[in-house]
């Protein structure tokens, strides 16, 4: 352990965990499931270390440049006096500032119970039942054995939130991490979300850093349970700045007739790895996974998805698209498992990519394992450039080449988020992406949105 601490990136963050486990009595260790989880995390990490490109699941993502900084865990009692206006909608704010929960920003909200994980842990002994029943507890869906970042997340287990949706909340829940620091910050958050039978909710997971000089590294692990006939819309906003790095591991377990709809917009954060998996455990569950990357400079987005069909009559559809400029990289790996009992499965996956420069990189890999025979499964992946026939056609109608490019790229990207249910948020995302596309094709700033109105008349 001392060895790890001295020489390996990020390992210095573990010393507090190490100490807490050293000082815990065997009695405490035996009765506190959170301490056990920390220990499991530490043990798993000691065995595997952090991933490198030699690991199959991390093949194209070299983490070295992002983890080498002298990160610090949150310290003290940092407080954000008010929530900065980032999104154009009112929300139920569950906000972490410099890694610490900000309960004062949250007023009692209808339909959702929010519990601070840190508060729960600091209470000392606890039986680990966090969302009503043992089976909806932290560590039930994501095991430290699964993945080194889940192990790290468990080892550093402290800050996070438990959301229990018991009725339909009137507003989207804004699960946000905001940082502002001169020092490199490591933000380790754990979320558990449970939607009770028949409820519907929207959750926005947003990562923001206001720091200009020092990076923030997010390691976020989320476990989500959808009970019968519940419906979750989960929106990942990753359109912040280059100093914002993140590894987000999300697992969703669905029961009968539940629906999940995930949107991921990656367009600005310097490095993002999304490891997203959905288990369709009971009949007629549905999931929709939509992801869009618009990348420039040296940005890296890595989307690993896994959909497991474990019961009959379930449906999954996946659409991931990327526009990759400069020296940026987009990675898509989409696994679909159809287990023998999952008859009448419908599973769709597509991944389409547009490369805008010779140095841009796209890696795409569908992985299908189908063990049932009555299955409709289609998948497709393309990597190409802007269609020059279409560019020429638009130019003959008077559009300058750059405007033609933006119009085509915008239309290509729009397919991913045009169905997003929150209109003001959709329009905001659209505007952010349009600006970015204008920048990427190097169109003079004064043209922006003045001449080109994308809004349908």
């Amino acid at each position: 352990m001392t060895n790890l601490q001295e020489t390996k990136p990020l390992m210095h963050l573990l010393s507090a965990t190490f100490d807490s486990l050293q000082s815990a009595t065997p009695e405490q260790l035996a009765h506190n499931p959170f301490l056990q989880l920390r220990k499991q995390g530490l043990d798993a990490l000691a065995r595997t270390g952090l991933p490198t490109p030699r690991d199959e699941e991390w093949k194209y993502l070299n983490l070295a440049p992002y983890i080498r900084h002298p990160y610090q865990l949150p310290a003290g009692k940092e407080s954000l006096s008010h929530l900065p206006q980032i999104l154009p909608i009112t929300t139920i704010p569950v906000v972490f500032f410099n890694g610490l929960f900000q309960p004062h920003l949250l007023s009692p909200a209808h339909g959702v119970t929010v519990t601070s994980l840190a508060q729960l842990l600091d209470k000392g002994s606890h039986d680990g039942t966090v969302l009503g029943e043992q089976e909806h507890s932290i560590g039930q869906l994501l095991s430290p054995e699964d993945d080194p970042f889940v192990a790290l997340n468990a080892a550093l287990l402290h800050q996070g939130a438990l959301l229990h949706i018991t009725q339909n909340p009137s507003q989207p829940i804004y699960l946000a991490s905001i940082t502002q620091s001169d020092q490199p910050l490591f933000v380790n958050l754990r979320f558990a979300i449970r939607l009770s039978t028949g409820t519907a909710a929207t959750v926005i997971l947003d990562l923001r850093t206001l720091s200009k000089t020092a990076p923030t590294f997010h390691n976020i692990a989320s476990e989500i349970w959808l009970e019968t006939e519940s419906a979750l819309t989960l929106i990942f906003l990753q359109n912040d700045t280059a100093q914002n790095y993140g590894v987000l591991t999300t697992r969703i377990a669905q029961t009968a007739r539940s629906r999940s709809r995930l949107y991921t917009v990656t367009a600005g954060n310097g490095m993002v790895r999304n490891t997203t998996s959905v288990q369709l455990n009971e009949p007629e569950a549905e999931t929709v996974l939509y992801g869009l990357s618009v990348l420039r400079d040296t940005e890296v987005a890595d989307h690993h998805t896994a959909v497991e069909h474990l019961a009959p009559n379930c449906q999954s559809s996946e659409l991931y698209k990327s526009i990759v400029a400069d020296q940026a990289t987009n990675i898509f790996n989409g696994k679909i498992f159809v287990h023998p009992e999952a008859q009448q499965t419908n599973a769709y996956q597509s991944n389409h990519n547009i490369l805008l420069s010779d140095d841009a990189r796209v890696y795409t890999k569908p992985q299908l394992e189908i063990f049932a025979d009555d299955v409709r499964c289609t998948h497709g992946a393309t990597v190409g450039q802007l269609p020059q026939e279409a560019v020429f056609y638009l130019r003959t109608r008077g559009l300058p080449e750059t405007v033609a490019d933006v119009l085509l790229l915008h239309a290509f990207a729009g397919e991913v988020y045009e169905q997003l249910p929150l209109e003001p948020l959709r329009a905001w995302i659209d505007q952010q992406l349009s600006h970015r596309l204008f920048d990427i094709v190097d169109l003079a700033a004064d043209r922006k949105l003045v001449d080109l109105q994308f809004a349908t008349s």
Binding site: R397, G398, P400, L407, Q453, F454, S457
Partner: protein, 266 residues
């Protein structure tokens, strides 16, 4: 009668190659404002190549020759500059633009052209009025305008859509490349009627067609026959009828005997 005016289009001795293969082998053509010209000729003779070169497609190599549009050197201009100057090509094979609605497309195009010409963007009301009138002229419903450009359009809808764009953009010269092919007789009449009713707003047409059929409805002042990359004959509209009667094989033998070409516009 036009000689006092400046010609709208002058093509002089144009030689064009693609991938080292020469396709146009010396084309001369002059079009004055107020004239309708037709180019006929067998498949593969170079008609679409000529149209594409005029519109500014970049995969072609100009080996020789010059082209002037409204007094300006056309070959020096980008496709969008040509559009702004008032040149329009109705494509033989219109291109699909998924995710871009007809309205967004038309308004963007119109405003970019206006911007190039130092004009303000068109106001929404005037724009919608113009587009709806154009749609009506082409027998296309308003829902057509909500659809993505050419996506899922039938062959006939694609052709009518080209003319719809022409009606909205109001160029000086419109080149119609086989706009008639694939149209049934009713659609053909609609298109011909639209072309005729816009004549005036649109100063001149260059109509490329394989068949004489369209010329029953749009009367050309001049008919040219293209064969093997050259205009081998020019005449008035009776030439189209002669071609129809004798077929293109007749040309082949005539060309071999190297006929004297009548000059058309000087």
């Amino acid at each position: 009668m036009h000689n006092a005016k400046q010609p709208l289009l002058v093509i002089e001795n144009l030689h064009v190659a693609v991938d080292d293969k020469q396709i146009l082998k010396g084309v001369d053509l002059t079009i004055y404002p107020g004239e309708i010209h037709a180019i006929m000729g067998p498949n593969g003779s170079g008609k679409s190549t000529l149209a594409a070169v005029l519109a500014g497609r970049e995969d072609y190599t100009i080996l020789q020759g010059r082209v002037f549009f409204d007094g300006k050197d056309l070959l020096e201009m980008s496709p969008e500059e040509r559009a702004a100057a008032g040149l329009f090509l109705a494509f033989q094979y219109p291109v699909e633009i998924p995710g871009v609605s007809m309205l967004t497309f038309l308004r963007t195009a119109l405003n970019e052209i206006r911007k190039s010409n130092g004009e303000e963007p068109i106001d929404t009301r005037t724009f919608l009025q113009r587009v709806r009138e154009a749609a009506q002229l082409l027998g296309l419903g308003n829902d057509f305008l909500q659809r993505a450009v050419n996506v899922g359009f039938s062959g006939g809808e694609k052709k009518r859509n080209e003319i719809l764009q022409m009606a909205v953009l109001r160029p000086k010269l419109a080149i119609l490349d086989e706009t008639d092919s694939g149209l049934d007789i009713d659609a053909l009449k609609i298109v011909a009627n639209a072309v005729n009713s816009l004549f005036g707003t649109i100063q001149s047409y260059l109509i490329i067609t394989h068949y004489q059929r369209l010329l029953n409805y749009i009367e050309p002042d001049y008919v040219h026959v293209m064969y093997d990359g050259k205009i081998v004959r020019s005449g008035d509209k009776t030439l189209a009828l002669e071609l129809e009667a004798k077929g293109y094989d007749w040309l082949r033998s005539e060309t071999l005997s190297s006929i004297e070409l009548p000059s058309t516009t000087t």
